[in-house]
């Protein structure tokens, strides 16, 4: 049996955050990362680049020497098959056992796959969440000219856009009444949809795929509305759900997501969680939910790592942030973008050409979320205002100014504190 002080299951962004966190306070103890993926740490958010033909090395999130530099041992291409949390031991797929003092589960999410009639046994039905998926789609590219993408969230719209750029005819089918519902408000959804339509992507909203037609080769999909969309490939991109496969047979509490406390520790002491697998606190309403977002996975990993190294350090909660990277017109959002009830105030501005739109959501004078399209430089100032919970009633209209958002709009005292460089980035472990 091999032994390691810290064992990290997973090797992506949450794992990298955790390694950074551990090494801030513990330079000596041994760390081992185990991942089923052979590439180690890579960017899942850049998989579309891989489909477009990038070298897989381009996806590397930290350089090849990162793990070595941090003094981390790696078991890549090896799957963890069981955890015995009572004995602090885990088993890998070649039957080896590894014991740990502290364990981090950064096992991510798995694609949510609805049961669709006719999906079984067809080659050109894909999901799009990891490098294996991207590789399969890339290899299959010469074999299809048209595709239906199920789901108009971030993953769905990005794969749709990518395939469209590769000269495939793409149709997106979405159950909801608009695109990117989690990240945008109705007006900005409409703008995003029309931008994508302008590129030649078709949308069927308020609809869903009921059956994939054809024998081994797909001939098309029939929709709930009765329509039939001819296509040769189908990609489901409805979202990811926390990956509980490894956890469900253990005493570690998992209920549609790994339960963690304020210190990212699970119900079992010495077992921590971070990233898409956990239910984390959403800063906008204090509720715990699955928030599969890149920056949050890094922050949670970092906080978990700091705590694993023995420094008590609470997680401040995650603020949902989104940026739509593939469109020609940039679209950014953070926090609550669609007001949940009448206690929220919405102020917005747009130009008639539809190239600029900004909307701010406030509650009791405090910024809770925003969307900005077209003019995005300085948008992070708004994100900072959400985090700081400052009363912005006095400056809110200035923030709708078409010009770039800047520190100019901030109260002088707040600005000068930053200018004299007191570091207020919350992490003072």
């Amino acid at each position: 049996m091999s032994k390691s002080d810290y064992v990290i299951v997973g090797s992506n962004v949450a794992a990298v955050g955790a390694i950074d966190g551990i090494r801030r306070h513990d330079k000596k103890s041994s760390i081992l990362t185990i991942s089923y993926e052979s590439l180690g740490s890579y960017s899942k958010a850049m998989l579309a680049d891989y489909i477009k033909g990038s070298n897989s090395q381009w996806l590397e999130y930290r350089g090849k020497d990162y793990f070595k530099k941090m003094g981390v041992d790696c078991l890549f291409g090896r799957r963890v098959t069981a955890i015995k949390a009572d004995k602090s031991v885990l088993t890998t797929d070649n039957g080896e056992e590894v014991s740990y003092k502290k364990l981090l589960l950064g096992v991510g999410g798995v694609p949510f796959k609805p049961a669709i009639k006719g999906a079984e046994g067809k080659e050109l039905v894909f999901t799009f969440t990891d490098l294996f998926d991207a590789e399969k789609i890339r290899e299959a590219l010469p074999r299809f000219d048209s595709a239906v993408v199920i789901g108009a969230g971030f993953t769905g719209t990005e794969i749709a856009y990518t395939l469209n750029k590769l000269n495939k005819k793409v149709t997106v089918v979405e159950l909801g009444d608009r695109v990117l519902v989690k990240a945008l408000d109705p007006k900005s959804s409409e703008i995003a949809e029309s931008l994508m339509k302008g590129e030649g992507i078709e949308f069927y909203l308020n609809d869903t795929v009921e059956e994939i037609a054809g024998s081994s080769e797909i001939t098309g999909v029939s929709l709930k509305s009765g329509k039939f969309v001819p296509c040769q490939a189908v990609i489901t991109a409805i979202g990811v759900i926390p990956n509980g496969a490894l956890i469900k047979d253990t005493q570690i509490k998992f209920d549609r997501g790994l339960d963690v406390d304020d210190y990212m520790c699970t119900s079992v002491p010495n077992v921590y969680g971070a990233g898409d697998v956990v239910k984390a606190t959403d800063i906008t309403d204090g509720q715990k939910r699955s928030l599969p977002l890149w920056p949050l996975a890094f922050q949670q990993g970092l906080v978990a790592g700091i705590n694993m190294a023995g420094v008590k350090y609470p997680y401040a909660g995650g603020l949902p942030m989104n940026s739509l990277k593939f469109l020609k017109v940039p679209i950014l959002s953070a926090g609550i973008t669609t007001p949940p009830d009448a206690s929220y105030e919405t102020i917005s501005v747009s130009d008639p050409k539809g190239t600029f739109y900004r909307s701010l959501i406030l509650k009791e004078g405090r910024l809770k979320g925003f969307v900005t399209i077209g003019e995005v430089d300085g948008a992070g100032v708004l994100t900072g205002l959400i985090r700081s919970k400052a009363d912005i009633s006095g400056i809110k209209t200035r923030l709708l100014n078409k010009k770039k958002i800047g520190l100019m709009q901030m109260p002088r005292e707040w600005r000068n504190r930053i200018f004299t460089r007191r570091d207020e980035t919350d992490y003072h472990d």
């Binding site: 955050g17 960017s43 958010a45 850049m46 680049d49 590397e60 999130y61 930290r62 350089g63 890149w294 920056p295 890094f298 922050q299 942030m321 989104n322 940026s323 990277k325 940039p330 950014l332 959002s333 953070a334 995005v376 430089d377 300085g378 948008a379 992070g380 100032v381 994100t383 900072g384 205002l385 985090r387 700081s388 770039k404 958002i405 800047g406 520190l407 100019m408 002088r412 600005r415 000068n416 930053i418 200018f419 004299t420 460089r421 007191r422 570091d423 980035t425 919350d426 992490y427 003072h428």
Partner: protein, 159 residues
């Protein structure tokens, strides 16, 4: 760590910092060539904000915990051992995660060039290595920009 201190009371909105920033980050190191031939117009890491009579030049604060780094999907933004938060423009894929993440608005999107990427202040890393001050600080005629220890170290800064 030493950073650039901004003293807004002293800023006269002369834009010398912007010119110096562009020049020092250009191939030619010549402001005119940088603006006219290298397409660096509007690409300064130090940005003068003006609402007369108020003016100041703002740039990356090189945070101890950079929010921009959390949001960077490609690993282009990393905090170096010397504390500088560095954005490698070659590795940047233009996802604008840093733009939405930076509470100081100091990571900027470059939307016009051949390749989309973000850019931000690197504290003139090459100049520091050569024992010089950041170009914006050097160019400021009114000491509205200082290169000095942080308030945590100095206890007090007069503004």
């Amino acid at each position: 760590m030493k950073k650039v201190i901004i003293v807004e009371d002293y800023c006269i909105a002369c834009y010398n910092c912007e010119v110096a920033c562009v020049a020092s980050h250009s191939r030619s190191e010549d402001p005119i060539k940088a603006y006219k031939r290298e397409g660096l117009r509007g690409r300064t890491n130090a940005v003068v904000e003006v609402a007369s009579p108020l003016a100041f030049s703002s740039m990356c604060r090189h945070c101890k915990h950079p929010w921009c780094m959390d949001a960077c999907i490609s690993g282009a933004i990393q905090r170096l051992d010397n504390g500088i938060v560095y954005l490698d423009e070659e590795r940047c894929v233009g996802c604008w995660g840093c733009v939405v993440g930076c509470p100081y608005g100091a990571a900027h999107p470059n939307l016009d060039g051949e390749r989309k990427h973000a850019f931000k202040c690197d504290l003139c890393i090459k100049r520091l290595d050569a024992g010089l001050n950041p170009a914006c600080v050097e160019a400021c005629p009114n000491k509205a920009l200082l290169y000095d220890e942080t308030i945590e170290v100095r206890e007090e800064v007069r503004t």
